[in-house]
C-alpha cells in the first residue's frame, strides 16, 4: 500500500473526530459536569474546521476521496454539530436527559456524514449512512420517559431500515451490472459499454432515488418526518433536519451525478417529480400545523424540494447552488430551532404556536431574531434565504427549467403564509401568559451566530457561493 501516512493524513478530520468521540464516551464515566463534554466536542469540531482544508487526494484505493466537495459538506456538518451542541447545553437538564453519551453519539453521527460526503465507493456510502442513521435513531429516542420520543425513534428506525434495504439492493444491482462498486468506475463502465437504456439500470436508479429521497425527507418518502421531528428532543430535531439532509444531498451528488451521470436523463425526471411534490406537500400541509416543530418539519420537506432544483439543474452551477443553499439552510433552520428550544423551560413545553402570542412584548430580541429566521426561510431579502433561493432559481433557469422555477416561486409564496403567521403571532397578538425563556448563554451564542450569518450572507452573498464553486473543481462533472 503506497505511503500509509499520507493516506491517514487525508483521513485526518474523521480520525480526530473519532478519537474525540471515544474520549467523550470514556470521560463520561469520570466527569460529573456534562457540559465539559459538550465543550470538548465543540473544540474538536472547531479544530477540524480550521485545519481540514487543503486536503486533496484519494485514500485506500479510491474508497475515500478527499476533495473540495467533501470538505465543503464537512464544513456544513461540523457547523450544524457545533450549533446543535450549543443549543443542547441547557435543554438536556430540563428534559432530564443530561448524559454524556448524547455528545458521543452526535460526534459519531457527524463522522458518518463525513464518510458519506467523502465516499469514493458505494460500500462507503452505505456504511457512512448506517453510522449516521444508527446514531440519529438513538438520539431521536433519547427521551426514554416520553412515549412520543420512543415513537419517533422506532418510526425512524423502521423506515430507515427500509431505505437501507433499497440502497443495498441498488448497490448489488450496480455491482452485478458493472462489476465494480467504485463510483468513478461505475460511471466509466456505463459509458464504455453503452448501458444507457438498460432496464436494470433504470430500476437501480429508482432504488437509489427512493433510498436517498428518504434521507432528505422528500415526498413521497417523507411520512416519517413530521412525527420524528416532533417527538425527538428539539436540539436533535435541529441537528437531523440539517445534517442528515445535507449528507443525503452529498451522496446524491456523488452517486447520481457522478456514478449515474452518463444516464442522467433517467433520474432527472424522477427528481423533478420528487421536487414538485416535496414543495407542494411540504408547504401546503405546513399551513394547517399548530405545533411549531411539526410546522418546521413540513417546512424542511419543502426545503428539500427547493434544494433538489440544484441537482436537477446539474453541472457545477447547479451543484454549487445546492451546496450553498444547504449551508444557508443550516444557519436559518438551526436558528429557528434554537428559538423553539429556548422556549422549553421547566414545566413549559413552548412548542405550540399559541405560545408565540405576544412574544415580542416580553422578549423583544428573541422575537426579532425569530422574525429574521422566518423571513429567511420564506426567502425575503435581505436575508440569506433569499440569496440561496436566488442562486438555485438562476441555476434552474439557465439549465432550461423555467416552468419548474415558476412552480418553486409560487410555492415559496404559499410558504409565506405559515412562516409569517409566526411573526404575526409574535408582534400583533396580545400575550396570554408570560412564557419564560431559558437562561442559556450557549443558546444565546448559537442564536447570535446564526442571526449574524443569516444577515451577513444576505447582504454579502458571493463568498460562500464562490467557495462552493471552487470546491467543485475536479469533481468530475
Amino acid at each position: 500500500m503506497p505511503d500509509i501516512g499520507a493516506q491517514l493524513w487525508l483521513l485526518g478530520p474523521e480520525i480526530v473526530l473519532a478519537v474525540f468521540a471515544f474520549g467523550v464516551i470514556l470521560l463520561d464515566l469520570v466527569i460529573k459536569e456534562k457540559s465539559v463534554l459538550a465543550y470538548l466536542s465543540i473544540a474538536a469540531a472547531l479544530f477540524i474546521m480550521f485545519t481540514m482544508f487543503g486536503r486533496q487526494g484519494t485514500a485506500f484505493g479510491g474508497m475515500f476521496l478527499a476533495d473540495g466537495y467533501g470538505l465543503f459538506f464537512n464544513f456544513i456538518f461540523l457547523t450544524s454539530l457545533c450549533l446543535s451542541i450549543l443549543v443542547s447545553l441547557k435543554y438536556l437538564p430540563v428534559e432530564r436527559i443530561n448524559f454524556g453519551e448524547y455528545y458521543g453519539l452526535m460526534l459519531f453521527a457527524t463522522i458518518g456524514m463525513m464518510v458519506m460526503a467523502s465516499a469514493g465507493d458505494l460500500i462507503m456510502v452505505y456504511l457512512g449512512l448506517e453510522l449516521m442513521s444508527l446514531s440519529v435513531y438513538v438520539l431521536a429516542g433519547f427521551m426514554r420517559q416520553s412515549t412520543r420520543s420512543n415513537e419517533a425513534a422506532l418510526k425512524y428506525f423502521m423506515l430507515g431500515a427500509f431505505a437501507s434495504a433499497f440502497l443495498l439492493l441498488g448497490i448489488s444491482f450496480t455491482y452485478g451490472l458493472t462489476g465494480t462498486t467504485q463510483i468513478s468506475g461505475v460511471a466509466q463502465y456505463i459509458k464504455d459499454n453503452g448501458l444507457a437504456g438498460n432496464p436494470v439500470l433504470a430500476f437501480t436508479t429508482i432504488l437509489y432515488v427512493a433510498a436517498f429521497g428518504f434521507k432528505i425527507a422528500a415526498v413521497p418518502f417523507h411520512m416519517w418526518a413530521p412525527d420524528v421531528y416532533e417527538g425527538a428532543p428539539t436540539p436533535v430535531t435541529a441537528f437531523m433536519s440539517v445534517g442528515p439532509k445535507a449528507a443525503g444531498f452529498a451522496v446524491i451528488g456523488r452517486v447520481l451525478t457522478v456514478a449515474l451521470g452518463p444516464v442522467s436523463s433517467e433520474w432527472t425526471g424522477l427528481l423533478i417529480v420528487l421536487s414538485i411534490l416535496s414543495m407542494a406537500v411540504g408547504n401546503i400541509l405546513a399551513i394547517s400545523q399548530t405545533n411549531i416543530k411539526r410546522m418546521l418539519a413540513y417546512s424542511s420537506i419543502a426545503h428539500a424540494g427547493y434544494a433538489l432544483l440544484g441537482v436537477i439543474a446539474g453541472g457545477p452551477e447547479g451543484l454549487a447552488s445546492m451546496m450553498n443553499y444547504l449551508l444557508i439552510y443550516t444557519f436559518m433552520n438551526i436558528g429557528a430551532f434554537t428559538v423553539v428550544t429556548l422556549l422549553r423551560t421547566e414545566g413549559v413545553k413552548g412548542e405550540d404556536l399559541s405560545d408565540y402570542e405576544g412574544l415580542s412584548k416580553n422578549h423583544p430580541l428573541l422575537s426579532a431574531l425569530m422574525l429574521l429566521f422566518m423571513f429567511s426561510l420564506t426567502g425575503i431579502p435581505p436575508t440569506a434565504g433569499f440569496m440561496g433561493k436566488f442562486y438555485l432559481f438562476v441555476a434552474a433557469i439557465n439549465a432550461g427549467y423555467l416552468w419548474l422555477t415558476v412552480i418553486a416561486v409560487i410555492m415559496s409564496a404559499i410558504s409565506a403564509y405559515f412562516y409569517l403567521r409566526v411573526v404575526m403571532y409574535m408582534y400583533m397578538k396580545e400575550p396570554g401568559t408570560v412564557i419564560p425563556v431559558q437562561r442559556s448563554t450557549a443558546g444565546r451564542v448559537a442564536l447570535m451566530f446564526t442571526g449574524i450569518a443569516v444577515l451577513l450572507i444576505g447582504v454579502q452573498p458571493t463568498g460562500f457561493i464562490q467557495m462552493a464553486r471552487s470546491a467543485l473543481a475536479g469533481f468530475g462533472i
Binding site: M63, F99, L131, V138, L177, T178, G179, P199
Partner: protein, 168 residues
C-alpha cells in the same frame, strides 16, 4: 442430483416462510423460521458458498434467533392468538411487494454481467471463500472494515443508553 436438491430447498424455503408468517402463535412462527434458516444455509452450501452457509447458521440461526426468542418471551401468547394475524394495511403492503416482485421479474432477463474481477471460480476453488474474504477484508477493504467497527460501537452504546440508563 443437484437440480433435485435445489428444487427441494427452494420449495421448502418458500413453504416454510409462508407458514412462518401465517402462524398466530409466535413460538410456532419462530420455530418454522429456524428450520427455514437451516434450509437456506444448506442451499448456500450446495451452491459452493461455504463461508456464507456458516455465517447464515451463526448469525441468523444463532444470534438473531435468540433475539426473537427473547421478544417472544415477553409476549403474552394467549393474547397474541386472539388478535388478527396481519395489521390492517396488509393489502397495500402485499400489492407493493407484488409490484416490486413483478418489476424484478421483468428486468431479470435484461441483466448483463459486468466485468469479472480477480476471483474467478477456479481461484475461489483453490483458495476457498473464507481465505479469500479474509484477505480482502484486511487489505483492500480495511477502511470499510474500520467504519463497520464504529457502527457496532454505536449500536452497543445506543442499546445501553436506550435500555439501561437511569433517568436523572
Amino acid at each position: 442430483m443437484n437440480e433435485i436438491l435445489f428444487g427441494y430447498l427452494s420449495f421448502a424455503i418458500l413453504a416454510l416462510s409462508i407458514a412462518a408468517i401465517t402462524r398466530k402463535n409466535p413460538v410456532h412462527a419462530v420455530l418454522l423460521m429456524i428450520v427455514m434458516f437451516f434450509h437456506l444455509a444448506t442451499m448456500y452450501l450446495a451452491l459452493g458458498a461455504e463461508f456464507l452457509a456458516a455465517v447464515q447458521i451463526m448469525v441468523y440461526a444463532g444470534a438473531i434467533m435468540v433475539l426473537f426468542l427473547f421478544v417472544v418471551l415477553v409476549l403474552n401468547i394467549r393474547e397474541e392468538e386472539k388478535g388478527e394475524r396481519f395489521a390492517s394495511g396488509w393489502p397495500l403492503g402485499i400489492s407493493l411487494a407484488a409490484g416490486l416482485l413483478i418489476l424484478i421479474l421483468i428486468i431479470t432477463d435484461k441483466v448483463l454481467t459486468g466485468r469479472q474481477g480477480q476471483f474467478t471460480q477456479a481461484v475461489i476453488l483453490q483458495e476457498t471463500h473464507t481465505k479469500a474474504i479474509g484477505k480482502l477484508l484486511y487489505t483492500q477493504y480495511v477502511f470499510p472494515f474500520e467504519v463497520a467497527s464504529l457502527i457496532l460501537l454505536v449500536a452497543i452504546v445506543g442499546a445501553i443508553v436506550l435500555a439501561k440508563k437511569r433517568l436523572g
